[in-house]
Amino acid sequence: MSATETLNAFLTIIRKEVIRFTRIWLQTLVSPAIMIALYFVTIGVIIGSRIGEMGGFTFLEWMVPGMVMMSVINNAYSNVLSSFFSVKFQKSIEELLVTPVPNYIILGGWIFGGMARGIMVSVLVIIVSLPFVNLSVQNWPLAILVIFLTSMLFSIGGFINALFAESFDDVSIVPTFILTPLSYLGGIFYSIDLLPEFWRTVSLGNPILYMVNALRQAVLGSSDLATMGMTIQFALFMIVLFIVILFFLALWLLNRGKGIRA
């Protein structure tokens, strides 16, 4: 395929993916925004007022970057997972496999589809947060970069999960038993300063902690990164490293036909 043809194929997959999740916008866009609004009301406003300050900020201010990141992670991951598993299940993946479109374009198309949803939901969450908190983002380019990279990383994760999934049960295992616990324990609601020494050390093994705090650094200008002895550059480097590793793993699996070719 020529470069133009490859680009056309890439844009077709992205367009298809965006049309897919916007067609069911109540489920894919509004539902996460409502869930986050409920978090703001129940945990942020009602409970948060009794908690007081966290890292020098109101609890709601502290919580917003975490909520944005949780939405990005969940939506980017689940978008690619459910979409790619669905094309496997319905065998519409054959539509792509019989064409000359290269595997890296198939992978890239799904990743960008997942990123589009993750980013759209993050914008909605920021809008939903505005009535609750006077948000003043300290570093917009960094905030956008962190959201962009995180949505990319978890879109690739969702793709790998979909390649391995053979049933609807397999689709829910990783999000339920790995992703959700890691998100909740990733410093969304608290500063790791509050944890005992042992659990603070354990938390350092959670990659989501770096992403949440990278965004918190961009939004509030302060985060747990310093406490953890990390710089924002190191956090970004770790995210990029994970992206590169997982991208090539996904591509290798796709080239081998894992889950899609007999």
Binding site: M1, S2, T4, E5, T6, N8, A9, L11, T12, I13, R15, K16, I19, R20, R23, S86, V87, Q90, K91, S92, E94, E95, L96, L97, V98, T99, P100, V101, P102, G257, R261, A262
Partner: protein
């Protein structure tokens, strides 16, 4: 030039099941070719390997002279495939499905739109372009499958049982359409089907595959010329009670108004009518009791008793 060349193609699935035992096949450009065989013979595996849905164990496949391993992308640009099962997203709109397929082949949005419109109109699904695919009838879904396979204007079109489960009207309109694109656009067509009448009517050349091996590969004309006997069924003007007496022919009375006769190669049908006429029997209409290809097909693949049972079931579905 050959549209498809297959050399010593082998496929062994997990559990050591040998689906293809080293088949060779050549299909000339512009041909309308039938690939027939009973269930589990290896037809779909062969098509799966050609279209990259199945990984081959060994062997070589070339599409229009391009090796699918070396010129993967270039080879697949020439290919359109209509799979056995409906394989598009049921919640997408018909127009979108077909446009997207063109996009996957690298066509620009505008070109994809034009091609999709052309084939949707040719296949009478243009009016349903904005409907979700799940709302279509089975026959309409088949047309979408065909439009999708043609939207990149492939030089080689492979159809895996395209008319399975569709009504006679649609089947015939699809036959006409496929003959048109074969004649007008010069598209090479490879067809697998269980409707042997379909293969006999459409295809010029034929290969029969059984248990992973090609057991016959010849022209339809030559194959049919090998037919040793044909059985005809005749509707009679008046009821009869006794079978006509002519030892050269095998007459059987199916009911008082229906007579069947088996005519061997070299025997004249005129002799049959002469015998009937001498006995005062008038024939209103006559037809082949079974398709001519069907008889040959059975003789080529029915040696395995288990397979014969399967065939009976499939042939039963054809009624």
């Amino acid at each position: 030039m050959e549209a498809l060349t297959i050399k010593n193609l082998k496929k062994t699935y997990e559990g050591n099941h040998e689906a293809l035992k080293g088949i060779d096949l050549n299909v000339e450009e512009g041909d309308f070719f039938a690939l027939l065989g009973p269930n589990g013979a290896g037809k779909t595996t062969t098509i799966g390997i050609i279209s990259s849905l199945v990984n081959k164990t060994s062997g070589q496949v070339k599409i229009l002279g391009i090796d699918i391993d070396q010129g993967h992308s270039l080879a697949k640009k020439q290919l359109g495939v209509v799979g056995q099962e409906i394989n598009f997203h049921q919640f997408e709109k018909v127009g979108q499905i077909i446009r997207n397929q063109a996009g996957y082949h690298g066509l620009s949005y505008l070109q994809a739109k034009q091609n999709a419109e052309f084939f949707m109109k040719r296949l009478d699904i243009w009016d349903r372009r904005n409907d979700q695919a799940r709302t279509l009838s089975g026959g309409m879904k088949r047309r979408v499958m065909v439009a999708k396979a043609l939207v990149n204007r492939p030089k080689l079109l492979i159809l895996d049982e395209p008319t399975a489960g569709v009504d006679i009207e649609l089947r015939r309109s699809l036959w006409d359409f496929l003959q048109e694109i074969n004649n007008e656009l010069g598209t090479t067509i490879i067809l697998t089907t269980h409707y042997l009448e379909e293969a006999e009517r459409l295809c010029r050349n034929i290969a029969i595959i059984d248990r992973g091996e090609i057991v016959e590969n010849t022209s339809m004309k030559d194959l049919l010329a090998r037919l040793e006997k044909e059985t005809f069924s005749m509707d009679l003007d008046k009821p009869i009670n006794t079978i006509p007496s002519n030892g050269d022919f095998d007459f059987k009375l199916k009911d008082s108004r229906t007579l069947s006769v088996t005519v061997k190669k070299g025997q004249q049908l005129n002799e049959v009518f002469k015998t009937l006429s001498n006995e005062g029997i008038e024939v209103l209409s006559m037809r082949n009791e079974t398709g001519r290809l069907e008889e040959l097909f059975l003789s080529l693949v029915e040696s395995d008793p288990d397979k014969s049972l399967l065939l009976d079931v499939k042939l039963g579905e054809m009624e």
